[in-house]
Symmetry: C2
Subunit: 375 residues, 2 copies
């Protein structure tokens, strides 16, 4: 199973890419091979964003269809979804939102779906409650992170008949064994939610033939793969472009584990951060790339590729390349030990990031009355 | 598999019940045992219809919930569906429509769904085409057979969000192995369509807590069974009554085979019958319960329980019990040989039935503009 091997790779020793290069760690290379992905080439995209420039976007599928559409100003779309099950979002989600924002800024018709149907079915969140959470939390979060609500088509899965209707058609195109190979089981609930996702990804093409891009973490690759299989097999009935995808790297947990840490003591990096003053404590506990002794670190320098604080700064907190470069140089030169580095970069940049976010989030919440869901 | 055993039983020698009795043939007794059904008791239902009186309805589930609601004039519903894939309906469908009409006439809130989603997914019929066929053929057919369009709530699966939303919730409640045990496989398309059917059966209870009855052939028992399991398991979230069901016997093909004959030469009994003058030929070719020789038949009488013409007259063509009794007596007494009986009863009653139907069908088509689908 793809997810398993990704996790396995991570546990065997995850090493981050260097901040300016585009070389990939072995694990991501393996994923690219395993899933038959393309390498992400930011030279293809005009004004690449931070996620592209810093190698956070590592792979994709049919990326040229999208970069061509951008350059030729041809119709294309970008779609992403929120699951309104909790009222916290893992910081890593910012990467997806930044990618959506990039495509939105470059002309993509942009769809944000609220997976209220899935939240109801899998987490017992009522449709009303799902809608409430989306409006009070998720959508303001996405807007605070950069999404332009005026240029976004918002919809609720439960209110989009085209999605569920398309789901029923798409389910014809995948066999039981294929489904099991992709998802590990054929539980009816999994089947329903998988094909509703397929419907979500493809339905914008019902109105207009155009390529579309789905920015996701690599854990979503099975969905994309199945959707591409379905689109290919539907060719006789619908002229669907196979959906394009851009895959971003995971953001580690504070303790350096690959996925959200089970170690509650370490704390989580989530949006919103209500207690900004606690960030010091969280960051001071985070895993770094320090050496065994102070002497060794002064001599050899730290290892930013192993440092979660550096990863967070690179992926989220430090937007200016100059600032990130300083942090990097201070580490590898041995000039800043980990404690100093955290005090100088990690903590202040994190605080600034969350303060900015909180301000924008409150503002977005005030304007939420202007959001209309597609009918 | 239920369906298989039903067919198997039939091939081993299907014997019809005598027209006035309520004794069941061994095969239907076996089905009742196998599916854990109740025997249908027409004493429970006020003014039993032909299908009840003549033992065509042989079993059911939670029938008392419905007969009580009828007697106590409490809210209850009846639901049936049409699959707009072809523009012919097997004559056997009349039995279902008569049952729906009975419950409608006795106060049930009546729903007729158009399974356009299923027709699209499984037969490639577009939603537009499905709607057209429903309006131009299926709904007028049901109205011609007795359904009161003014007291019926019509809806298209593709336009009823409550159905697809409920389907996603219901799919949580059945495991992969349970689904396989019921349906034989877990093909994604089967999963989608099965849970959409579950949604169809249960959604009327979302607005109003009330029992509901689904009149069906025994081949639909697996759907009902799964829906009852789902409703039971949803008790914490929704207060659903387990759906009641009434099961009717199959109508044989003209050659006496259990299901629609593969023998095209024999012809089919379908609605509408465009060529009423061809009915002579069809009925003359049909399997009867005649004896080996004329002498034997004169002496012992024919066997109406083995005669497809008698079955058709009993189930569909001869509404007056007196006429049917005459036909029966003429047969078992040896007075009428098969040819005479066909000329006297089978052919004229069939012609009258189809002529009446055609007239009502044309009338219903004229009034189709008054049909509104639920929005």
């Amino acid at each position: 199973m793809p997810k398993k091997s990704a996790n396995k790779g991570a546990k065997e020793g995850k090493v981050l890419v260097d901040p300016w290069g585009s070389s990939l760690i072995e694990d991501y290379e393996r994923l690219i091979k395993e899933f038959g992905l393309e390498h992400f080439d930011n030279n293809e995209f005009p004004e690449p964003n931070l996620q592209m420039r810093r190698g956070i976007n590592f792979g994709g599928q049919d990326l040229k269809a999208i970069s061509d559409a951008i350059k030729q100003k041809k119709p294309h779309y970008c779609l992403t979804g929120i699951m309104p099950s909790s009222e916290k979002i893992h910081l890593g989600t910012e990467t997806v939102v930044q990618n959506v924002k990039y495509f939105q800024d470059h002309g993509a018709k942009t769809f944000l779906l609220v997976a209220d149907l899935e939240a109801q079915a899998t987490r017992g969140v009522s449709l009303e409650e799902g809608k409430r959470r989306a409006l009070e939390f998720h959508i303001p979060t996405y807007v605070a992170l950069g999404l332009d609500p005026k240029k976004t088509i918002f919809y609720l899965q439960s209110e989009n008949k085209k999605v569920s209707n398309l789901a029923a058609v798409c389910a014809q195109k995948i066999t039981e064994n294929e489904f099991r190979a992709i998802y590990g089981s054929v539980h009816p609930a999994k089947v329903m939610s998988a094909f509703i996702q397929v419907g979500d990804i493809l339905w914008p093409q019902l109105g207009e033939e155009m390529p579309g891009i789905i920015p996701v973490g690599i854990d979503q690759a099975p969905h994309i793969r199945m959707t591409r299989d379905v689109a290919r097999r539907l060719k006789g009935e619908h002229k669907f472009f196979l959906p394009s995808a851009v895959y971003n790297k995971y953001t580690s947990a504070l303790d350096g584990s690959f996925k959200m840490s089970k170690n509650e003591a370490v704390g989580k990096m989530e949006l919103p951060e209500e207690n900004i003053s606690s960030l010091d404590k969280k960051i001071n506990k985070a895993l770094t790339g320090g050496r065994a002794t102070m002497e060794e670190q002064r001599k050899k320098g730290g290892i930013p590729e192993k440092c979660v604080v550096f990863e967070y700064c690179k992926n989220h907190f430090i937007r200016d390349d100059k600032g990130l470069n300083e942090m990097f140089e201070g580490c590898v030169s041995g000039k800043n030990l980990c404690g100093e580095c955290k005090a100088k970069y990690g903590i202040p940049y994190a605080k600034k990031f969350f303060e900015d976010f909180n301000k924008k989030f409150e503002e977005a919440k005030k304007n939420i009355g202007k959001i209309n869901f597609l009918k």
